[in-house]
Symmetry: C2
Subunit: 150 residues, 2 copies
DNA sequence: ACGTTTAGGTTCCTTCAGGGAACCCCGATT
DNA sequence: AATCGGGGTTCCCTGAAGGAACCTAAACGT
């Protein structure tokens, strides 16, 4: 991502950024999630430099959010989300909800999501894993945890 | 964030990244959320270059997620989250949940969140704004929206 | 058998952004 | 009048992004 290494910070935000916070990484994950799994597809869809795309894909594979696997007898590879990677898409879904609300403008959101469970076009909300009620920034107290810095 | 401009892409992820996807921006927002609102505090807590901190703060103010306001008769300023900015913290909360689960290791999460509504230490889940049931990456169909590219 | 095509990268060069230290400005304090 | 402290700005240096050219291995066409 940047020259300062975030991976050693005692902060889950910083550590998550170490995985997917570099420029392009979220967009690469988005494309792979919607089925664009090959190098050439990603490169031409995003308009990213091939060099940077190589670096990002390797990094995401190293961090265990993507898996690189052959799809032919020829040396051809596709990149697929691991379970860890699929859960990371949650972050993107919240970005979508925020961007749709605050940045879409007159034209409206570029993409809609239909929820399988209810069949409705909707968006994600944050809720509490314990009680299920809404859980946003102002609904919590922040406390030191077991892995807090010394 | 990077030299390629994401703000004009027909994608709410890209547009959200244009606002807070640059290196350090999420950590700046985190610090401001937990009450570290002044330049010197931010600089020394993060260890960020003063130059970059200035650029990030200006950018976040320009995009309407922070407000710069005087807190003294002397020329002293603090940065506070706007409503738009506070909603952006949702993205960070999901990063925390993911990082806590996948990257915290033996030590456990560095920070805990206690939910006001139920009093329990918990974490955020994604749910559907319409039916309230869980809503993750594999629970949706992706459809073109009104603001889709031509 | 030989040249072409295609996916998936490497290499190289240039430009721009991040790191880090030094410096500056302004109002208040002593 | 000199000092201090918050909030920046300027400078130089290094490293990462952009972009084009090049490379390789396995098929395919003829």
């Amino acid at each position: 991502m940047q020259r300062t290494d975030f991976s050693e910070m005692a902060c889950s935000i910083a550590r998550t950024l170490d995985v997917m916070g570099e420029p392009w990484s979220p967009l690469i994950l988005r494309d792979i999630f919607v089925g664009m799994s090959r190098f050439e597809q990603l490169q031409s869809d995003l308009g990213i430099s091939r060099k940077v795309l190589t670096e990002r894909l390797n990094h995401l594979v190293d961090r265990g959010v993507l898996e690189r696997r052959p799809y032919d007898k020829r040396p051809r590879y596709e990149y697929v989300l691991t379970g860890k990677g699929l859960e990371l898409i949650d972050v993107l879904m919240v970005m979508v909800a925020w961007g749709d609300k605050w940045l879409a403008g007159e034209a409206g959101p570029p993409v809609l999501y239909r929820h399988h469970a209810c069949g409705e076009v909707s968006h994600v909300e944050l809720s509490c894993s314990h009680c299920g009620k809404p859980m946003h920034a102002n609904d919590v107290d922040v406390l030191p945890g077991p892995g807090a810095a010394a």
